[in-house]
């Protein structure tokens, strides 16, 4: 591992303890619900009990009779200011509050503003709304049937189709499949899930009517983008961008769910503007699960073509995407399906083609990524399932099949048939390491023995390639704003620094790792580099933290900005040491004269000189800013192996072992990287075996609380075994790649493959996630292994 700084400096490769933990372990974190302002009011929201209904009447009279209830805001009220609709990040439109029709279960209907939280809740209970329920469209396939009601006539639609998108060579792929020796095919559905960060969403909108200034305290992963959206949505009512300040303090988990602008934010702003007082809105868990952006909901028809001996030749995937009633995806790319076209994965073969159609239904809008670059998880699930499917078909060991088809190290940079240029990779060693640690060959022998006695165990592999770090300006933007990110470093006269970023940590440890990057580049101890994010008044503009983009973009910006400062330090050193710049050499923390190492100036001396004794003509001070536009995405990868034991009577699944080998390039802080992987693995386990948003035929959500939306506990989550290989990113200034999401992407197919492997000898070729004991039991009954009572 790269590490050439002392522990005191704490540059790259050190497992520095996190700076942020002092406050978090002592209850001094500052989350949005901790904000308390003088005169602050509370907002609570009346939500629809129907998935699709006309609103006939809203009677707020009883609510308004409650002492302390100040206002009930409806869509009709917002309509007067043209604030009842807002644009989505995907150029669709979304209701802030409905004027006529509700489009999904738990949609906002109106908002109660009161002096206290409890009174606002009473107000919500007292509002009487009369609905005329209509037949909801819940099934994405049926949404396209002729004669179905058109959900979005306002978009000029005559059916419920939103968009069609395709990538790759259709003709060549069809031709290959027509002539292939082996074709395997599965219908793979990735269900609707929810990020369910432990902190829900919320905000305090504080409008100062005298200054016409809005301060918005909120839980957002992208404060700058949110400010711009606020200015775009409400500029016409006077919220001019320079008079909007978004403050994202500590965030209790994001995972993509805190990228979108939710209606509640806009209503809170409107309420604050109308009443002239700060208004707090904090969701409860049911609102969070039922109405906030979902993730996934992709139904994929997957096909893989190969030779009989297992040379993978082509991939074809057709997808139907359910976006709910509006396409409000938090998708950072120009492609409507985000980064789905990474679906060719880690394998080298000729052709591929993918096409996709998105539809409207009466479900909440989305989607968000759930801890991945938008749509990568779906892509990886498709390919990794299909590789196992092929192995089963041709009777080849699935590890061997992967080894034989990996893109080879010397093929990088590799141009995938669907258009990505993979920057670097070395896939074989990662899989081999995982196999060695888990004892792969022994496990296969054990499995063969156990099958003889009717015992069920399975071994599942996933060798994924991720695509993170959105992104290069040629392909990536949000509302047209390119997806650079930024760092601004100020070093004060005594050599202590403050650095600000356009990203926003939600637990990733930016306060520690960014300091380490700067420490690495400048030799200033990380301990003396204070990191700030999340205040749009002070931080440089950036697009925020999601899609594992902070290190690839803002981390790179930090390194480049620090290098600008090092260049300045070199000039000052040359001046002070009276030599030419070329005669100086850099060693972490100081410049010295080549051949005369005793003649040196430390970074602290050089910084001090920049304020006290800088060369004539040089700008004083020691500050630099950089906006980093990455030349490419980064392509972290890994190989995971999961071993499961299944109770043949009940279908219960026990993960016996899970080995995860990740490669995220150069590592800034090994402790934090490992922690990210542990967490991502549990969030991969979640959709693989537990989580799914379940709707009935009328569009009611059936499991909208933590009593039924099954977030894994420490008991369900196995003890993860991790390891790594290092393949530095060739284009990133410090050779790093993103890491936070790889395990969420890689774990579900590893787990699914293991469970399906345990049942494959019974003729099972695929099971949709989440794979529950009930699903396994159904299969065991169907295959005649056990009898139902």
């Amino acid at each position: 591992m790269f590490c050439n700084t002392s522990k005191e400096i704490g540059g790259m490769g050190h497992s520095l303890k996190r700076k942020e933990d002092a406050r978090f372990t002592q209850g001094k974190g500052h989350y949005v619900d901790d904000v308390k302002l003088p005169g602050m009011l509370y907002m609570d929201i009346v939500r629809s009990p129907y998935a699709y209904a006309k609103i006939l009447n809203i009677d707020a009279s009883k609510a308004l009779e409650i002492p302390g209830v100040l206002a009930v805001i409806t869509g009709r009220d917002l309509e007067k200011y043209n604030l009842h609709w807002m644009p989505t990040l995907m150029s669709d439109t979304q209701m802030v509050l409905p004027t006529d029709t509700v489009m999904y279960y738990a949609q906002e209907v109106c908002a109660v503003i009161a002096t206290e939280r409890y009174i606002a809740a009473d107000g919500v209970a007292a509002v009487e709304v009369e609905y005329e329920p209509m037949k909801a469209i819940v099934d994405a396939h049926k949404a396209l049937d002729p004669g179905m009601p058109v959900l979005r006539p306002d978009k000029g639609k005559t059916d419920n189709h939103i968009w069609h998108w395709e990538a790759g060579d259709r003709e060549a792929t069809d031709k290959l499949f027509a002539n292939a020796e082996v074709v395997v095919k599965e219908q793979v559905y990735i269900p609707r899930i929810h990020v369910a960060s432990i902190e829900t969403c919320g905000c305090v909108a504080d409008f100062d009517p005298v200054e016409a200034h809005l301060t918005m305290y909120m839980t957002t992963q992208a404060p700058h983008a949110i400010r711009t959206v606020i200015a775009l949505v409400a500029g016409h009512v006077g919220l001019s961008e320079e008079k909007v300040r978004v403050i994202a303090s500590d965030i209790g988990g994001g995972f993509g769910g805190k990228v979108p602008v939710y209606p509640g934010y806009v209503i809170a702003i409107a309420a604050s503007v109308l009443i002239g007082k700060p208004v707090k809105w904090i969701e409860d868990r049911m609102e969070n699960l039922q109405a906030d952006s979902f993730a996934r909901d992709y139904d994929m028809t997957c096909e893989l073509a190969a030779t009989k001996d297992g040379k993978i030749q082509g991939l074809r995937i057709k997808t139907l995407a359910d976006h709910g009633y509006t396409d409000a995806a938090a998708n950072p790319s120009k492609y409507p399906a985000g980064m789905f076209s990474i679906c060719t994965g880690s394998y080298d073969y000729g052709v591929a083609f993918t096409e996709m159609d998105a539809v409207y239904t009466n479900k909440p809008p989305g989607g968000v990524a759930y801890r991945c670059s938008f749509r990568v998880t779906e892509a990886v699930h498709a390919i990794e399932r299909m590789v196992d499917r092929l192995a089963l078909e041709i009777g080849k060991d699935s590890a061997q099949l992967r080894m034989e088809n990996f893109i080879k190290k010397e093929q990088f940079p590799y141009h995938s048939p669907l258009g990505w240029e993979y920057d670097s990779g070395d896939y074989g060693p990662a899989l081999q390491m995982a196999m060695d640690i888990v004892g792969y060959d022994e496990l296969r022998k054990e499995q063969a023995e156990k099958r003889k006695n009717g015992q069920l165990m399975g071994i599942g592999i996933c060798s994924f390639t991720e695509v993170v770090g959105a992104g290069p300006s040629k392909d990536f933007d949000i509302l047209g704003i390119k997806m650079f990110d930024s760092a601004e470093i100020r070093v004060h006269p005594t050599g202590k620094a403050i650095a600000r970023f356009g990203t926003k940590s939600q637990g990733q440890g930016h306060e520690t790792t960014y300091a380490q990057i700067i420490a690495q580049e400048l030799g200033i101890p990380a301990e003396h580099i204070h990191i700030e994010e999340g205040d749009t008044d002070t931080a440089p503009y950036g697009l925020g933290t999601y899609a594992s983009r902070s290190t690839p973009t803002a981390g790179a910006a930090a390194a480049v900005a620090a290098r600008k400062l090092r260049d300045k330090a070199r000039k000052i050193a040359a001046y002070l040491l009276e030599v030419s710049e070329e005669d100086l050499e850099w060693e972490v923390g100081k410049f010295f004269v080549k051949g005369a190492p005793e003649k040196s100036k430390t970074i602290q001396e050089l910084v001090f000189a920049s304020y006290t004794n800088h060369p004539q003509g040089m700008e004083a001070g020691f500050e630099a800013t950089h906006y980093y536009d990455p030349p490419n995405l980064t392509f972290p990868f890994g190989s995971y192996i999961c071993v499961v034991d299944i109770d043949p009577e009940t279908g219960s699944i026990k993960i016996r072992r899970f080995v995860a080998i990740d490669d995220c390039g150069n590592i800034i802080n090994p402790m934090i990287v490992q922690g990210q992987i542990h967490g991502g693995l549990t969030q991969g386990l979640a959709p693989a075996m537990f989580e799914e948003l379940i709707y009935d035929e009328d569009g009611n959500m059936l499991n909208g609380s933590f009593m039924d939306y099954l977030v894994p506990t420490a008991v369900e989550s196995p003890s993860w075994e991790t390891g790594h290989t290092i393949t530095p990113c060739p284009h990133h200034p410090i050779g790093a790649k993103g890491v936070g999401e790889s395990p969420t992407v890689g774990a579900p197919p590893a787990i699914a493959n293991a469970i399906i492997d345990a049942l494959s000898h019974l003729g099972v070729t695929h099971i949709d996630i989440p794979i529950t004991p009930q699903k396994v039991w159904n299969i065991l009954v169907e295959k005649g292994v056990i009898e139902a009572v």
């Binding site: 009990p49 129907y50 279960y105 209970a125 609905y131 329920p133 049911m286 039922q290 009935d696 009328d698 009611n700 959500m701 059936l702 909208g704 609380s705 009593m707 039924d708």
Partner: protein
């Protein structure tokens, strides 16, 4: 959710029919209903109080009686709203004469619940429905036996 129930009552079909057509008696035998006000031949205004263990709710709404085939069958269309969610149901009631003194009363219905009732009620809805239908038949029998 579909519901159904069958019960044999010791009374002629016509007697049962007459009882069901009397809003006062219908209110008395239908569990939870506290008030049934006849608006016209088909429409009633209904108020219900449901209390099961610690859970309780006040409902109000409409009840519509249609497709009447005396004394064999009719259909109830029910819409009840409450703070914890709304219920909509269509119930087909059938009275099949087994003899001059015995009638088989049966119903099949489809119930839709919304809001909190639906979200949190999944575990309890079927048992509640079964309990209520059992109570209905018991009350009906009691009414018949006077």
């Amino acid at each position: 959710m579909t519901l159904s129930g069958t019960y044999t009552v010791n009374a002629p079909a016509q007697t049962i029919w007459d009882m069901m057509m009397d809003p006062e008696i219908l209110a008395r035998i239908t569990p939870a209903i506290t008030k049934l006000e006849k608006l016209d031949d088909e429409n009633f205004k209904a108020i219900a109080e449901v209390k099961i263990g610690p859970v309780g709710g006040s409902f109000s709404g409409n009840l519509k009686m249609v497709d009447k085939v005396q004394p064999e069958s009719f259909k109830l269309i029910i819409q009840q709203n409450s703070k914890i969610g709304n219920a909509a149901a269509e119930v087909n009631m059938n009275m099949k004469a087994l003899s001059d003194t015995q009638t088989e009363v049966s119903f099949t219905g489809d119930v839709k619940l919304s809001g909190m009732l639906n979200t949190m009620g999944g575990r309890v809805i079927t048992p509640v429905a079964n309990m209520l239908s059992k109570q209905f038949f018991e009350a009906l029998e009691k009414e018949v036996n006077g």
